[in-house]
């Protein structure tokens, strides 16, 4: 892409990987940040816990009702047993099945991952197979629950030196994502998967078809803004895309301060009240210049280059 990543995107550029699909298209992926994954996991665990507790309470309530209706422990045992069976199997399926079923779906993500905008993908660019999803989720026990159990019990000294050693050993699995570039956890490693960002961007309006960018003149004052070669040579792609964001957000304070900054830089003094038209015109002309340079192979990453 750009010769040098823009400063505000530098941390993302480090997580960018190009995967070549089996047919030869290079597809850019951004490895999901560890914090996004931790957040998604917390959301999922909360969801599982709340569901589990809700179902447990409902079952207790039903059992209580049964008990009262029959008026004693006799006669209810069949129904009670069914409730017990249901409860045991429900917890097993919830604990082991939730992640697998959700990640096998077309979105490849649990609810938590969807909320965090990330998904599971196959590392080699092939398709995500059910086996891979099963494999990556079977390791959750030793990566999450065992380390936490041992970490909580190790300081008490109950397990002695062996307990502390076990805690340190499981800590390796817990912290595994911090020891590699792609933030793979142990389950990802044995399944051949990774977790990538899955942004869902909507297509924004074209900026050059509206306002002063199109007319070349302000609808408000009728003033026509034309910028010279020297004035447009100051800024680069980073500033252009920052300006694009400001225009799309359309917040008047931001428009004013950006307007002031640009005017100071290029030495204009057009006065107040017509900031948006000025910026639209400046954006369209700066982009036209940078894009035509681009077609000749000249790129200007930012104002310092």
């Amino acid at each position: 892409m750009t010769a040098r990543a823009a400063p505000h995107l530098a941390h993302r550029a480090r997580r960018r990987r190009d995967v070549v699909t089996p047919e030869g298209i290079a597809l850019p992926f951004t490895v999901a940040s560890r914090s996004a994954r931790a957040g998604a996991l917390l959301l999922d665990l909360t969801l599982m816990f709340v569901t589990g507790v809700a179902v447990t309470l409902t079952l207790i309530w039903i059992a209580g009702g049964l008990f009262e209706a029959v008026g004693g422990p006799g006669g209810t045992s069949g129904a009670m047993e069914f409730i017990a069976v249901f409860w045991t199997l429900f917890w097993f399926l919830l604990w082991n099945g939730y992640f697998m079923v959700m990640e096998m779906g077309p979105r490849g993500a649990t609810f938590g991952k969807r909320a965090a905008g990330i998904r599971v993908a196959s590392r080699d660019g092939g398709r995500l197979t059910p086996e891979a999803v099963v494999a990556r989720n079977l390791l959750r026990d030793i990566e999450l629950f065992l380390p936490i159990v041992f970490l909580l019990s190790a300081p008490s000294g109950e397990g002695g030196a062996a307990g502390i050693a076990a805690a340190a050993w499981f800590l390796i699995f817990l912290l595994f994502p911090f020891f590699n570039r792609d933030a793979l956890r142990a389950g990802d490693l044995i399944a051949g998967t990774w977790v990538v960002e899955a942004p869902r961007a909507t297509l924004a309006e074209t900026l050059s078809t509206e306002g002063a960018a199109r007319e070349g003149a302000s609808a408000l004052t009728g003033a026509e803004y034309r910028f010279g070669e020297a004035e447009l040579a100051i800024y680069g792609e980073y500033e252009l895309q920052t300006l694009e964001r400001v225009l799309r957000d359309d917040r008047s304070e931001a428009l004013e301060s950006v307007h002031d900054a640009i005017c100071r830089k290029i030495g204009w003094n057009p006065g107040n009240g017509d900031e948006r038209a000025f910026l639209e015109a400046f954006y369209a002309q700066l982009r036209a210049k940078l894009e035509s340079d681009m077609r000749f192979g000249k790129r200007k990453a930012d104002k310092f280059s």
């Binding site: 077309p106 494999a135 390791l139 051949g192 961007a201 900026l207 199109r214 894009e291 681009m294």
Partner: protein, 353 residues
């Protein structure tokens, strides 16, 4: 064919009128406006596929998907070199990625996968880890013998091996009658299904752990197998000492042939991962781990299914049948598993996949 009225009533609001392409001041924006319609159509198809609403897709849409995907991918390649519109680039990036996941997404539904899995996939995976199964079997036999020998030499070992909940009445020095009592046939099925559910979730948890620990080069899996089989060896000695070997074997075999086989497979699958990471051969460690992990996962799904069967066998036939019935069921189950895993689906291997 759907009634058109429903589409207009319940469909989304119509898209904005086609943009005025000539009005765009920039060449890159004209490029975008000319292609925008196709991108939006692709997005619409992808959104429907992501939501799993495949029925709503018309045949034309399904046929158009690969073409639309390739067009959009080439648009992205051009846009990256000619456009500085960050919003459009971001949109195209995410659109191509989402479309790629759908075009190259899992083609199989769950049912199709399950059919392939039961109809040979599981057996093949198990045959592929035969070496690990042999090692795990050797370890299990060694564990049983160790347990037996240790307890035979010094009874105190029994308390070290056998967990408290098993050592209720079944302790060294217990009379023959007490031991027979513990192998007794139950009178009714009261509480049996709850017991089966508990056994299943407990055993499945243990075998998942045995598998997961295989990641640490397989050593912890082996230790887990060894320890569990030492418990078995110790109890075997206890009953043999009272002259109840056959009764105990029958009591154990009715579910044990299934359950111990499942635990054997879980340990072997875990060890398979550990072994292929320790000795990856010509592949990279990551590739070797991924390959063996997927194979192991197939075996583990089989293990969980076997444990369901084992829990049902353990709760009902074991508690309700006599010695001969128990032995017969145990033997039949063992033969069934062996035939299914090692003889079934062999001819499929020759066919191209």
């Amino acid at each position: 064919m759907k009634a058109p009225i429903l589409k207009t009533l319940f469909g989304k609001a119509e898209v904005a009128p086609p943009p005025d392409i000539e009005a765009a001041a920039l060449r890159s924006d004209r490029f975008r406006l000319e292609r925008e319609h196709d991108w939006r159509r692709l997005e619409d198809i992808v959104v429907r596929m992501e939501k799993g609403r495949l029925r709503g897709l018309s045949d034309e849409d399904v046929l158009a998907l690969p073409a639309l995907y390739r067009t959009a991918a080439s648009s992205l390649a051009v846009a990256r070199e000619t456009s500085l519109d960050a919003a459009t680039l971001e949109y195209l990036d995410s659109l191509i990625q989402r479309a790629w996941f759908q075009v190259y997404g899992p083609r199989q539904g769950f049912v199709a996968w399950l059919r392939g899995f039961l109809g040979g996939g599981l057996s093949r995976s198990i045959r592929e880890i035969w070496l690990d199964i042999c090692i795990a079997l050797a370890v299990m036999v060694a564990g049983t013998i160790t347990g037996w020998l240790l307890v035979a030499q010094d009874r105190e070992w029994y308390y070290a091996f056998v967990p408290v909940q098993f050592a209720d009445t079944r302790v060294p020095g217990a009379s023959r009658e007490v031991l027979i009592e513990s192998l007794q046939v139950e009178k009714d099925t009261q509480g049996m299904s709850a017991f089966a559910a508990f056994l299943f979730s407990n055993n499945a948890g243990v075998s998942i752990l045995a598998f997961a620990l295989g990641f640490a080069f397989g050593i912890p899996s082996l230790m887990l197998l060894m320890h569990n089989m030492a418990v078995l060896g110790a109890m075997l000695w206890l009953y043999a000492d009272a002259g109840l070997t056959l009764e105990f074997a029958a009591w154990l075999s009715v579910h044990g042939t299934t359950e111990l086989f499942a635990i054997l497979l879980a340990g072997a699958a875990g060890m398979h991962i550990g072994r292929s990471m320790a000795f990856p051969g010509n592949r990279s460690i990551l590739a070797a781990a991924a390959e063996s992990g997927r194979r192991g996962a197939q075996v583990m799904v089989g293990v969980v299914l076997m444990l369901v069967a084992a829990a049902l066998l353990e709760a009902f036939p074991r508690q309700l049948l006599g010695t001969e019935g128990r032995l017969i069921i145990g033997g039949v189950m063992l033969l069934f598993w062996l035939a299914y895993f090692f003889a079934f689906g062999r001819e499929r291997k020759a066919e191209p996949a």
